[in-house]
């Protein structure tokens, strides 16, 4: 127990306690002046008139990314599963092809998409113009930017959902499905009313993992929009990063990081409860 406990202490407990302590200070990293601030960092966060906007952007980015990744991932998994089970040619290769975005480092995708989204010089607008369509201000329009980032996120992380859901689908017992088919159930009925309930716990785990990741995600925002235009793509985690490492306000940044931590904790608890209820019913 002792080595494991020591590892837990060093890797988890100490940084957490130390960061919390930092969040109770006003600490400017440039001047290195550290002053006790009590809860004032948290009060400043909660009383920031822009907080509802940051929360809205965070919820939009996380919610849309997870929903689209889940839906697309499930659709692709169902398609590939039926192809693999039917031993149709090309589906094994398709499975590999779908996974390829995961092979590229997230930071590289961020740089690629930054170029793709460029209003005059990006690939997307060049293709649109060649098709006779007008250019789109993908990340230069504050109303559109967050949805463009969701698109980039979905491109990058759908394969992750796909791989988990495909594994789940492939592990479902075939005899139940066979029995349903013999009873006259059609493809969609089997999938929705028989397989999906069996897959619920896998789906919830996948959603949980992507929600946690999405709440913490930085790469696309850091590289492509820097939280802009204005604050239209500033999620809370990016705000924490910017406050700590661009404004060099370590205490306020640590407090924001704890707010994000609390949000992740709430999401995890909510999803775990749902999973427990699901398993109990099953």
């Amino acid at each position: 127990m002792a080595p494991a406990g020591l590892a837990l202490l060093v890797v988890f407990v100490y940084p957490l306690v130390s960061s919390f302590g930092m969040s109770l200070e006003n600490w400017n990293l440039i001047s290195n002046i550290r002053r006790w601030a009590g809860a004032s960092n948290y009060i400043a966060i909660v009383s920031n008139p822009a907080l509802p906007e940051f929360l809205r952007v965070t919820a939009t980015y996380t919610g849309l990314s997870v929903v689209f990744e889940g839906a697309l991932g499930l659709g692709l998994a169902a398609l590939v599963r039926s192809g693999l089970r039917g031993r149709l040619p090309g589906f094994a290769f398709m499975r590999v092809l779908i996974m390829t975005p995961l092979l590229v480092a997230p930071l590289l995708w961020a740089f690629y998409f930054r170029n793709f989204f460029s209003p005059q010089f990006g690939l997307f607008n060049i293709v649109l113009n060649k098709l006779g369509l007008p250019s789109v201000l993908w990340v230069n329009d504050s109303k559109l930017a967050v949805y463009s980032l969701v698109g980039a996120d979905v491109w990058q992380w759908t394969p992750f959902m796909f791989s988990i859901l495909l594994a789940g689908l492939m592990s479902l017992p075939e005899d139940i499905v066979e029995a349903a088919r013999l009873d006259g159930a059609g493809g969609w009925t089997i999938f929705w009313l028989i397989e999906m309930p069996l897959l619920k716990s896998v789906v919830l785990v996948a959603i949980l993992m992507r929600t946690i990741d999405s709440l913490r995600y930085l790469d696309l925002i850091l590289i492509i929009t820097q939280g802009g235009p204005a604050t239209s793509t500033t999620i809370l985690n990016f705000l924490a990063y910017r406050t700590a490492f661009q404004e060099f306000q370590m205490g306020r940044g640590a407090a924001l990081a704890f707010v994000v931590f609390a949000m992740v904790l709430v999401a995890v608890v909510a999803l775990l409860r749902t999973m427990r209820r699901t398993l109990q019913h099953a």
């Binding site: 005059q120 201000l137 820097q226 204005a230």
Partner: protein, 434 residues
């Protein structure tokens, strides 16, 4: 062997393995994190600079010349700009000794020096006579950037400020002269716009992180504006501030589509391919360097436009400092001194991709690049950003409001008012006044 004996033996082995593994990891951590290589410790220095461009190329190319001249070996540690700022801030806060020479952006100098992170250069590490000669050979604004109470805590090394690039063919085609004042600039930017020819007027980077604020400041200062009063209270919400923000909002209307959130990369490309015509706030000469064959001969430079009071390009530049936690301060100071000698500044910096800081070096190299004469003139009159530790916060607060105004989400007057209120809160929180 009985079951109990087997499990006891297995448990012992597992525990021994865990203890041994922990000991190995701990020893490795201690070795990597706490020890610097003992080999030739005083004759090898770690130098943090940018890796490319005017702020990085000279150090990458000339470090070996320095080694040949002094015998001091150099480990060049290179990163991008943001990473460099974060790395050095974190190292200084932890009083780490990993870096001996640090390339510091000018607006951090006084904060670092007052916090005790930087070694005083004149007298102890670099002879007073050299520092005096150097200080006499740089513009006053530049000299003051690298001093605290008359002592040098850094040396300017790479000089830079905003430059004004324009496409002379576009202006000629539109029947306008290169503008000398901001009013003339706005007229020229409007006249030049012709979407049917894929030609637009003003280009700059309007994104946050230094660019948006420095776009505003060059016009604000040109109108006589002051960022703070004597009590360090912000004074941007005045006639000069309103003029500046309104001017940029009008100029953005002449930019290519998406101009309200243009990155520096968009800015450079727009001028380099002839899409944009006038860039008075450029920090790097990349648009000329990367221009296509048609556009390159069309690009020209001149001094920054003048306001009703002065020309006020924003002063930039990154200098070299010696970390106060360095175990090789003397060798580190030799590096800083070498790169700031008159000879190296005159004969090597420009020739190896950089820009000098010494006035004499500028004079000797005016013909080396087409943009140098205008840049040298700008350098003499450039204004420095405030060197206060809160500048990062202030920049973020002001640039957010500017971005709202640029995008048309908020009217300029309200944006300015909110920016001033936000800066006021920052300064109060920092203890400048109650």
């Amino acid at each position: 062997m009985s079951k109990e004996m087997k499990s006891a033996t297995a448990g012992l082995n597992r525990r021994q393995a865990l203890v041994a593994g922990g000991a190995v990891v701990g020893a490795a951590w201690l070795g990597a994190g706490l020890c610097r290589p003992a080999l030739a410790a005083d004759r090898t220095i770690n130098v943090l600079t940018l890796g490319e461009g005017i702020f990085g190329e000279p150090f990458m190319k000339l470090s070996k010349d320095f080694t040949a001249a002094t015998g001091v070996k150099v480990n060049n540690v290179t990163t991008g700009y943001n990473e460099s700022m974060q790395k050095q801030a974190a190292m200084f806060a932890a009083q780490g000794s990993e870096l001996d020479v640090v390339q510091v952006d000018n607006f951090f100098l006084k904060g670092y020096a007052k916090a005790g992170h930087l070694a005083k250069l004149n007298g102890a590490l670099i002879p007073e006579t050299f520092v005096k000669d150097f200080n006499a050979d740089v513009p006053t604004a530049v000299r003051e950037l690298w001093q605290v109470d008359g002592d040098n805590f850094g040396m300017a090394t790479i000089g830079n400020c905003q430059s004004f690039y324009y496409n002379s063919a576009h202006l000629k085609d539109a029947g306008v002269e290169p503008p000398d004042t901001w009013e003339e600039f706005l007229v020229a930017a409007r006249k030049v716009v012709d979407p049917s020819k894929k030609r637009y007027g003003f280009v700059t980077s309007t994104e946050r992180l230094t660019k948006a604020v420095t776009d505003f400041l060059t016009i604000f200062w040109a109108e006589g504006g002051k960022l703070f009063n004597d009590k360090m209270q912000p004074t941007i919400d005045d006639a000069a501030g309103l003029y500046a923000i309104n001017m940029i909002v009008e100029l953005i209307k002449t930019m290519p589509p998406g101009g309200a959130a243009y990155t520096e990369s968009d800015e450079v490309k727009a001028l380099a391919v002839g899409l944009g015509s006038l860039d008075p706030m450029s920090w790097i000469p990349d648009s000329i360097k990367t221009a296509d064959a048609v556009t390159k001969p069309q690009l020209a430079t001149r001094v920054s436009p003048k306001g009703s009071v002065r020309r006020a390009p924003v002063l930039g530049g990154m200098g070299l400092c010696v970390s106060n936690y360095s175990p090789s301060k003397e060798a580190a100071a030799q590096f800083v001194q070498w790169f700031n000698t008159a000879e190296v500044q005159r004969d090597k910096i420009v020739q190896n991709g950089g820009q000098p800081c010494r006035t004499s070096a500028w004079a000797a190299n005016l013909d080396k690049e087409p943009w140098f004469p205008a840049l040298a003139e700008n350098f003499k009159v450039a204004h420095a950003l405030p060197q206060i530790p809160e500048w990062g916060q202030i920049d973020a607060a002001v640039s957010t409001q500017l971005a709202y105004a640029f995008a048309g989400q908020v009217d300029p007057k309200s944006a300015l008012k909110q920016a001033q209120a936000d800066v006021d809160n920052i300064m109060k929180e920092a203890g400048y006044y109650k």
